[in-house]
């Protein structure tokens, strides 16, 4: 019904799409997989009317269509639900759903708000969600907002004669499992009304939801298959061109931690978040903290880096009692933090790689106090090589890097500052398989060199695979401790019992 034919697109000399052809049929869910930089995002944006292809064409029901703007796409029945939320937080839900489309409710220049909100309620009913459209969007949770975005895309139904195609761009990255299930249920229910194109890094999700799957690599389509006929490893192989190791988490590299204690907590509490947390962290150890949202693990992590100082108990770093009230104090004690929102919390995107890497420890001339730019560049080059960061130069701006490479720059920043305790907060979120594996390698490298790591991971699988020991938290308290030495790893079931 909707087809992309021999489309190519280049940006500043980089070929994002190269002769790509894709078909989307009526009432089907098409999955789109590929590593970062494979071209999925570009393809989605071409379908959404955000970009115009350099070559090739789009056809709808056999006839060519030219999408010069998102509005054109909307008129042709194509709507997109972005990965980074595209709702305006200062407007109400109803206003967001009909943003730009208020004309149908307007007479004599005045908007009839009652009719608009009634219509909004109808759209929300399609996704079976109970939200008052007069609610300010900023008051909703991520999951609720996702549903509103879906409702907004579905609202197109009434504006177009065409079949509806809804593009879902990584909708699950910020959702908890429970919400993901709900989303999938809705999508399946809505298949009668619309086709979906679903992009995700989580291959198991792709397989669960899609009817048909396209695999992209380096701007080309390298595979197309029915979802039922393939498996995750096969997809992985097509995406990266190599087999997924049984050694995904490099477990064979896990060595016993050293004797030396670098961080210790006794009775650590933050009022309203968690209490009575004890743990010991050794040199070279990877300590994982498992728990659902609300377990207190997020706040614990943030206490360790000085965002939220403890209200009770003690924390010791290298034997000294500390109470970290600002991150700079943590940094002075040799603690580094790799945040989950690297775009906003880890890097200054508008600055070059070299500058970001030295943010926490500027190479300063001892006599004049001036920053030594030459040394800075040298340091940057060293880390770029060591961490295999893909970039044309160390002067390139961080905002131009892919997610995985940005993550590495953040890591380099702390390694440059000689942090010996590193806190990883969801380090592989939003990264493709290849980039994830590189992060796992790095964690092993760091561990070998003696750095101690506190890891809050995306999945239980990751936690179990990477860590030496695991703390399980629930409702603000530690409910279990596991030893996850190589060869003696607990199972997910073991952990879950103490998490919920």
């Amino acid at each position: 019904m909707l087809s992309v034919e021999h489309v190519s697109k280049a940006f500043a000399g980089v070929q994002a799409l190269d002769d790509v052809s894709v078909e989307i049929g009526i009432n089907e869910v098409v999955g789109l997989v590929g590593e970062n930089g494979a071209g999925k995002s570009t393809l989605m944006r071409i379908l959404a009317g955000v970009y115009v292809p350099d070559h090739g064409s789009l056809k709808l029901d056999g006839g060519p269509i030219f999408l010069k703007s998102p509005r054109d796409a909307n008129l042709n029945g194509i709507g997109i639900v972005f990965q980074e939320q595209s709702l305006l937080l200062n407007l109400t839900v109803g206003e967001n759903i009909y943003l730009g489309q208020e004309a149908e409710f307007t007479r004599l220049g005045l908007v009839n708000r009652r009719r608009l909100y009634a219509a909004a309620r109808r759209q929300l009913a399609k996704v079976e969600v109970d939200i008052d459209p007069r609610t300010r969007t900023s008051e909703l949770s991520f999951a609720a907002r996702q549903m509103v975005e879906l409702a907004k895309a579905l609202a197109l139904e009434e504006r177009t004669e065409r079949h509806l195609v809804i593009l879902l761009d990584e909708p699950t990255s910020v959702l908890e499992q429970r919400d993901i299930d709900i989303l999938f249920a809705r999508v399946r229910a809505l298949k009668q009304r619309a086709s979906f194109v679903f992009v995700s890094h989580r291959l198991d999700e792709i397989l669960a939801l899609s009817d048909r799957i396209y695999v992209m690599k380096d701007g080309r389509v390298v595979g197309e298959m029915q979802a039922g006929t393939t498996t995750v490893p096969r997809l992985h192989q097509m995406m990266v061109g190599r087999d997924r190791h049984a050694e995904y988490y490099r477990e064979s590299r896990q060595q016993a931690p050293r004797e030396e204690i670098v961080m210790q907590a006794r009775g650590l509490s933050v009022k309203g978040a968690y209490k009575e947390v004890d743990f010991v962290l050794h040199k070279g150890e990877v300590l994982g903290i498992a728990g659902v949202v609300g377990s207190g693990r997020e706040e614990l992590t943030r206490t360790l880096f000085g965002f939220v100082p403890q209200t009770g108990g003690t924390l010791q770093i290298d034997g000294h009692d500390v109470r970290l009230t600002v991150p700079s104090q943590a940094s002075d004690h040799g603690v580094g933090y790799i945040p989950r929102e690297r775009r906003t919390e880890g890097l200054v995107l508008s600055l070059p790689i070299a500058v970001n890497m030295t943010l926490s420890s500027l190479p300063v001339n001892r006599i004049t106090g001036a920053i030594s730019l030459g040394r800075e560049r040298q340091l940057a080059k060293k880390w770029v090589d060591k961490l295999h960061i893909r970039t044309p130069s160390v002067e390139a701006l961080c905002l131009n890097l892919s997610g995985g490479n940005q993550q590495k720059v953040v890591l380099a920043k702390w390694m440059n500052a000689r942090a010996h305790i590193l806190i990883f907060d969801h380090p592989t979120r939003g990264l493709d398989v290849g980039a994830k594996e590189e992060v796992y390698e790095l964690i092993r490298d760091l561990s070998e060199e003696g750095a101690a790591i506190v890891l809050t991971a995306d999945t239980l699988e990751e936690t179990i695979g990477l860590c030496h020991s695991i703390l399980v938290m629930r409702d603000g308290q530690v409910t279990a401790r596991f030893d996850a030495a190589q060869g003696r790893k607990p199972s997910q079931v073991d952990l879950i019992r103490y998490m919920v």
Partner: protein, 345 residues
């Protein structure tokens, strides 16, 4: 049982510890809902304090005087409000006001030339000011020059042209009808100027709440990229907003010329600061996307009440500037959602 997505659950980072803490949070949330009304409560509180210390504050004649002193600032601040909600800033108030007042003074019956165009002259002048606002918008949008710079330049150009037109001197307005805007009080109530300001308030309120343009202003202020992706004609909206602002400044020029009975290039001197202050004190955020004309009304009233009150209470001139400074800081501190701001610049 289907898990509910609908109800507002915690964002990532805040945990769901039960019982006493949850009750605490509910109280905080109710207080939070009152936050947008803080400027209004401040206005009431201020009025009560002043009125208690000098009951003459509540005299009918005084309330009229307060309203009168608020008329011009309100008209100017209404124009500025939309610009600020958009996320921009308009520094050209004083220049456009000057052009408006000077043009009106020269076109209606005056003591400098033989013109006597009456209301037609007024319309021409206000249209000219709207055109200047439009020019602000077009340069800002077309040449992609930040609004700060464009309007800064237009400020000086405005004052400069006003100076050129008058050769630096002042011209007196002799047209009785124009003057009646300030001097006549229909039904013994407010001077016509106050009604004009209220009319402007009504119109801008309708624009803000009931028109698409009003909605788009907030959308752009809340997230320009997202707004553009939703098909909103961002450029057109911006130009319209600046044009509205220019028109309102021109209207302010009319009221100023009527009030002082003259036009000169410096008639707007000092108004930029008081206009922006009134908008901010009323609760409209400089970052855009929040606030509105009713907020601005409250802000303007606070400034007018304070000005009147300080004289009624005989506060020493030395202290008055300090008081105004404290006012600004307190007002902004109360209205900002500081819990949400991790970074404060």
């Amino acid at each position: 049982m289907e898990p509910q997505i609908g109800h507002p659950s915690a964002d990532s980072g805040t945990s769901q510890i039960r019982s006493p803490e949850r009750r605490d949070r509910n109280v905080k949330r109710s207080l939070g809902r009152l936050k947008p009304y803080a400027p209004f409560f401040a206005l009431i509180a201020l009025s009560l304090v002043i009125g208690t210390m000098n009951p003459r504050f509540f005299e009918f004649n005084n309330l009229i005087r307060v309203a009168n002193s608020a008329a011009i600032p309100l008209v100017l601040a209404l124009g500025m409000t939309f610009v600020i909600v958009l996320g921009s800033i308009d520094l050209s108030v004083e220049g456009v006001l000057a052009i408006g007042a000077v043009l009106i003074s020269l076109l209606v019956r005056n003591n400098g030339n033989a013109n006597d165009l009456g209301w037609f002259g007024v319309v021409l002048a206000i249209l000219a000011c709207g055109a200047i606002g439009c020019l602000n918008g077009v340069i800002h949008v077309g040449l992609r020059i930040p609004s700060f710079m464009v309007t800064l330049g237009m400020w000086f150009i405005g004052v400069g042209v006003a100076t050129l037109l008058l050769g630096g001197s002042t011209v007196r307005v002799l047209d009785k009808e124009i003057r009646s805007l300030a001097l006549d009080r229909p039904l013994g109530l407010f001077p016509i100027a106050v009604w004009v300001a209220l009319g402007a308030l009504g119109i801008t309120w309708v624009i803000e709440r009931r028109t698409r343009i009003g909605r788009y202003i907030y959308a752009i202020g809340g997230g320009e990229d997202l707004a553009a992706l939703s098909g909103i004609p961002v450029q057109r909206v911006k130009i319209i907003v600046f044009t509205i602002a220019g028109t309102l400044y021109g209207l302010g020029g009319l009221l100023a010329a009527a009030q002082l009975g003259q036009g000169n290039a410096l008639i707007g001197s000092g108004r930029l600061f008081s206009t922006v202050t009134a908008v901010v004190v009323g609760g409209t955020a400089l970052t855009g996307g929040e606030g509105g004309v009713l907020n601005t009304l409250v802000g303007v009233m606070i400034m007018a009440v304070l000005g009147n009150g300080m004289v009624l209470l005989g506060i020493s001139p030395d202290l008055q500037q300090g008081v105004q400074g404290i006012l600004i800081i307190v007002a902004v501190a109360l209205s900002l959602d500081r819990a949400r701001l991790k970074i404060v610049k």
